[in-house]
Amino acid sequence: MSHPVQPSPTRSLAHSLTNDQHLDLYYYMQLNRQLEERMVRLFRQNKIVGGLYSSLGQEAVSVGTAYALEPRDWLAPMIRNIGALLVKGFKPRDIFTQHMGKYTSPTQGKDGTSHFGDLKQRHVVSPTSMLGDLIPVMAGVAMGGRYLGQKIVAMTWIGDGGSSTGAFHEGLNLAASQKAPLVVVVENNQWAYSTPVARQVPIRDLANRAQAYGIRGLTADGNDVLAVYSAAKEAVDECRSGRGPVLLEVKTMRMRGHAQHDPAEYVPPAMLDYWKARDPIALFENYLTENNIGETGRKAEIDARIEQELDSDQDFAEQSPLPPPELAEQGVYCEGCHTIEAEWRRPLAEVMPPASSVEAVWTVSDFGAFRPPAALPRPAISVASHLKPATHAAKHIAKPAAKPPEKTHGKPPVALAPEPDLASAPALRVPFGRGPKDRAFRQEQQNAKDARRKDKRGKRR
């Protein structure tokens, strides 16, 4: 089973959002941006003790996707998903203190940036710097939640760069084979540090990877928060109804360097100009104005609230103490400081046989035999087109198992001239269970050889 990639129905679901929810989206995006702008200033004042990674221009991705989740759902952010953390209920002070290495930060100074989480209240898993790691972890969260009957959806993000890691593929494949309720958002921001996406992957749409896992792939305009929300909501709903996982690619642009130290001179200026004109917050502000949302001063109120919130939280962070050095030695192991508790939402009897099935059932049509990929869209340059026309021998080999190609209804598609029908390209096919060691196989080859020899002899005479 495979699903072709579908562009998400732009904004179709977004109409179900109320005016307040529209303003919520605005609030979180603007809070995300203003918070990061302040951190750039703090960085220049040497108040950020480590690196600073900007999500300028990507606010719609973090906010639009996370907004599609319910409070019970789980997420794991990447470095540029501060907006998602804000939607999940973390406060600007958490972000400020994390970056400044303060004792009051969620990790008490043990880690920086967006590397923090909260298992009990907000259901956020902390990322590591090893890209792709979160995908198997969140697949496990999705599987565990289902096992406990919690009806939760897990969501995580990965960049275009991180989508090349082994963990990405292992995690997605496990999630797909388990039908786990997991939404993986591929945040295609065009650059993996300095390497453009075209030099990392030979495909245009990263969501196409979904086909390989037999799951749904969606693409959305990452700079249109309503389009992102609509696509994410669709993905979350699919997962919640048991049809997950879903791979959602959002196309956007990293408007600054990889981190503050990187001037990103490798980015063509025209590219920046193109995306600057498509700034997600400016686009959304236009939308709000056109639709008379947030007029009568409500939007201005939000702006003022953000300023106030950031003032007080920045002040809190700057006044906060650094951690006591002896903290470095504490907390390597959990020695009774946490209780491990599972929140059961289904009767315990259900997880054990006979209530839970012990049938080992695998539904593989045709017992896994080779099937001509007639139904798949044909690549523009097919492997078969490079092959020479089938030889006698090849025809012989193919004969026993060869079925006539499936007939298509209506007019046959106008194929490129040199491209033979993949379904009837016999040279590619080895009948199931047969190969060079098979006596009948060798005999057929011999027969074909003999026949050719006879042919030649006849001609000579």
Binding site: V125, P136, A139, G140, A167, E170, G171, C334, E343, M352
Partner: protein, 324 residues
């Protein structure tokens, strides 16, 4: 009381822990219907079903990653490596994700990673590893390596109930070669406690897993020659029971460390350093060690035998040590 193999003791521990606690789930390759490559999980699928005994794709990173995720929800997953050698494939998930989780953001990972390890069965260089030292160097993990059926069962139960990621190494040479009467019903062996397997006065041999048996065998040989060796079985490598080692060295004054793992960077170095730091004045001789060679574990029997320590090699080193 029933006589069981180490493999059966492990299977019993898994069975009983899953039966006791519905938050215990298992993930691994071929652990379900097939019952595992060594049949350590045989019968678990029929009893507990596919939601609790999960056959996964061949994806060690996904197995350990998913186990981390499940543990964040309050479950206690047990991940099986079909052979512990394959833990190299998920090194990152183990050392960067699971091990650092509690220290960095207070999220405990009550997970067990278990798998068959060790040489002596002609498994070749990719099915004979003793990769414990990669993980001893990783704060946040616990590492357990039992040598008896009783300890295997008791320590595995402790590992499942521990709130931290525990690597549970099962020496496959011992799986079916040792049999032992173990008590019926529930019992545990605490993680982090070594045990003195043989009392002696002349020298201390510190070892673990299959080499604990080799060391005992050597000690019996030495006894015939009038050398009375004390043999300590570490059982847990992290945390390391330094007290038991130091106490022994303080009354024998001589230390020999035996491990199957390769020599350079093996645990012998850490133990020797500990003793030099804390009991230098008690030593009558330099610290000796008998270890695997600094090579991969070779396949062919004479090569593998050359690689492995054995009772003769241990006894020979002990004789040298006793001469001081």
């Amino acid at each position: 009381m029933a006589e069981v193999t180490m493999l059966e003791a492990i299977r019993q521990a898994l069975f009983e822990e899953m039966d006791r606690d519905p938050t215990v789930v298992m993930l691994g390759e071929d652990i379900g219907v097939y019952g595992g490559a060594f049949k350590a999980t045989e019968g678990l699928f029929a009893k507990f079903g596919p939601e609790r005994v999960i056959d996964t794709p061949v994806s060690e990173t996904a197995i350990v990653g998913a186990a981390c995720g499940m543990s964040y929800l309050g479950l206690r997953p047990i991940a099986e490596m079909q052979f512990i050698d394959f833990i190299a494939c998920c090194f990152n998930q183990v050392t960067n994700f699971a091990a650092k989780s509690h220290y960095l953001w207070g999220a405990p990972v009550p997970m067990v990673i278990r798998g068959p390890s060790g040489a002596g069965v002609h498994g070749g260089p990719f099915h004979s590893a003793n990769p414990e030292m990669y993980f001893l160097h990783t704060p946040g993990l616990k590492v357990v390596y039992p040598s008896t059926a009783y300890d295997a069962k008791g320590l595995l139960k402790s590992a499942v109930r521990d709130n931290n990621p525990v690597l549970f190494f099962e020496h496959k040479f011992l799986y079916r070669r040792i049999k032992e009467e173990i008590p019926d019903g529930d019992f545990t062996v605490p993680i982090g406690q070594a045990v003195v397997r043989r009392r002696g006065t002349d020298l201390t041999i510190v070892s673990y897993a299959a080499m604990a048996h080799t060391s005992l065998e050597a000690a019996e040989e030495l006894a015939k020659e009038g050398i009375d060796a004390e043999v300590i079985d570490l059982r847990s490598l992290l945390p390391l029971d330094r007290e038991t080692i130091l106490a022994s060295v303080k009354h024998t004054n001589r230390l020999l460390i035996v491990h199957e793992d390769t020599r350079t960077g093996g645990i012998a170095g850490e133990i020797a350093a500990t003793v030099c730091e804390s009991a230098f004045a008690d030593l009558d001789a330099p610290v000796f060690r008998v270890t695997g060679l600094d090579t991969p574990v070779p396949y062919s029997p004479p090569l593998e035998q050359r690689f492995l320590p054995n009772a003769e090699k241990v006894a020979a080193a002990a004789r040298e040590l006793a001469k001081y």
